[in-house]
Symmetry: C2
Subunit: 266 residues, 2 copies
């Protein structure tokens, strides 16, 4: 990444994205600030989706909800405009990916509600800075993600099994990782499982359902965290007439320091 | 309290309340289990109230939301029936207290949504059991509560200043209390202020707006936590045609162990 991008403030990073000067992923941009997964839904599904997030806080840590029809998100950043401030949007119609676009000015509707969910970038920063090595960052690959047999708690039409991300860690680092991620409830919090993958319905650790396989080194065990793909699966199950999400890797950059996510709203 | 009540399981405690065998407060019943503040609102206000709670997690720690029109709350207890399982209900019409009743079977509507918010009983149990003395429990009085000048983040018609509860503590106990309550984000979490009351708009610590005044002993400082009266004030500001809450002290007893509130939903 261009060094000037990694030094940009959240507002500057959003401006670069909004003006089309940056069109790629957001990993590493505005370090130290919370980035969010996005789901934009019509208002008649918003209460059910809010219930789904409340009932499943580990995969769906809700950090912001917009007013109906309002593309701003003043609780997460003074100048946020959801129509332009992601570097890529996926548009789903009836649960199927219909289009990928760079802004949604033409698609915006006055019944849209934006949901922002914390993503794992913040806790990964904390793990690395406290000395827990993360294989996928070392190898420049995408973290391994798996469907599990852990059912989420349904809400209206939203339901489905939990998706997890997996990081290979030495047992001592796994313990340290639990301690560190306990401080980040708004970015998936503590792991949901460690050790035997079969116990959560993962049959072949070498074949992730999303992302790349990870190499295991001597004595390492798999450690599993709830993953932000879970609500995407739930939305797909619900087959809403329209739902707009971030394009994978193109998160919303907020003004909230990662360490303060819990205290954000008041 | 009758010793058999303090030994009752959550399901047994709810049965005693449902059948009218227990009509008093719930403090001390089913110890170790999360008790909840209740707000029941018509569905057309439910999304705004969910947003209000999401934006103000310290005063409004949402632990459960019902399906529309459904008096059960399966995520918090297998047999909960919101029409009968509180020992007292306050009925507000247009923001004013209109009635206090012992069940709401006749008032229930198929557009009602129940919101359950964590209450301070759980963190008080933890403080006492870890050696932090709480004056109001020693003296058998009600904790002191104050209006502050800390504005909550509004959502639709819901808004207002934060209400806080105050406990006098020695500085070393205040530090321990921060450490302990950090583990209880679902029951108001860490304090919002300590020390000078004037900094949060509390002019006379000896005259609480709710509850009883507390005696200060040598070297003690006031420690302030966000309080569950905050959403009640916000609801009153919103003047909904109808809103039903718990009668103060008559909480919903859930099946959720207090220490696991954060992990509850999935």
């Amino acid at each position: 990444m261009n060094p000037s991008l990694s030094a940009a403030s959240p507002a500057e990073a959003r401006r670069l994205i909004r003006t089309g000067a940056h069109t790629g992923q957001t990993a590493g941009m505005a370090p130290g600030y919370l980035q969010g997964n996005i789901a934009i839904l019509p208002a008649d599904l918003a209460l059910d989706f809010a219930r789904y997030c409340q009932r499943n806080p580990k995969p769906c840590p809700l950090v912001g909800v917009s007013e109906t029809g309002d593309p701003s998100l003043p609780t997460l950043g003074a100048d946020i405009d959801m129509r332009t401030d992601l570097s890529g949007y996926n548009v789903y119609r009836d649960g199927e990916l219909a289009d990928t676009v760079s802004d949604i000015r033409d698609l915006w509707r006055d019944d849209f509600v934006t949901f922002v969910l914390g993503c794992s970038f913040s806790f990964e920063d904390a793990l690395v800075s406290e000395g827990v090595p993360l294989r996928h960052l070392e190898t420049g690959t995408t973290v391994s993600m798996y469907r599990t047999n852990i059912a989420t708690v349904p809400a209206g039409p939203f339901h489905g099994d939990m998706v997890v991300s997996m990081r290979p860690l030495k047992p001592a680092d796994a313990i340290k990782a639990v301690e560190i991620t306990a401080r980040f409830p708004e970015t998936h919090g503590t792991p949901v499982h460690l050790g035997d993958p079969a116990m959560i319905g993962v049959d072949d650790i070498a074949r992730p359902d999303w992302g790349d396989p990870a190499e295991f080194r001597d004595g390492e065990i798999p450690v599993f965290w709830a993953c932000g793909v879970t609500p995407q699966v739930a939305v797909r199950q619900a087959r809403p007439p329209i739902c707009i999400t971030h394009r994978p890797g193109s998160m919303l950059i907020t003004d909230i320091p990662s360490t303060e996510a819990r205290q954000t709203p008041g």
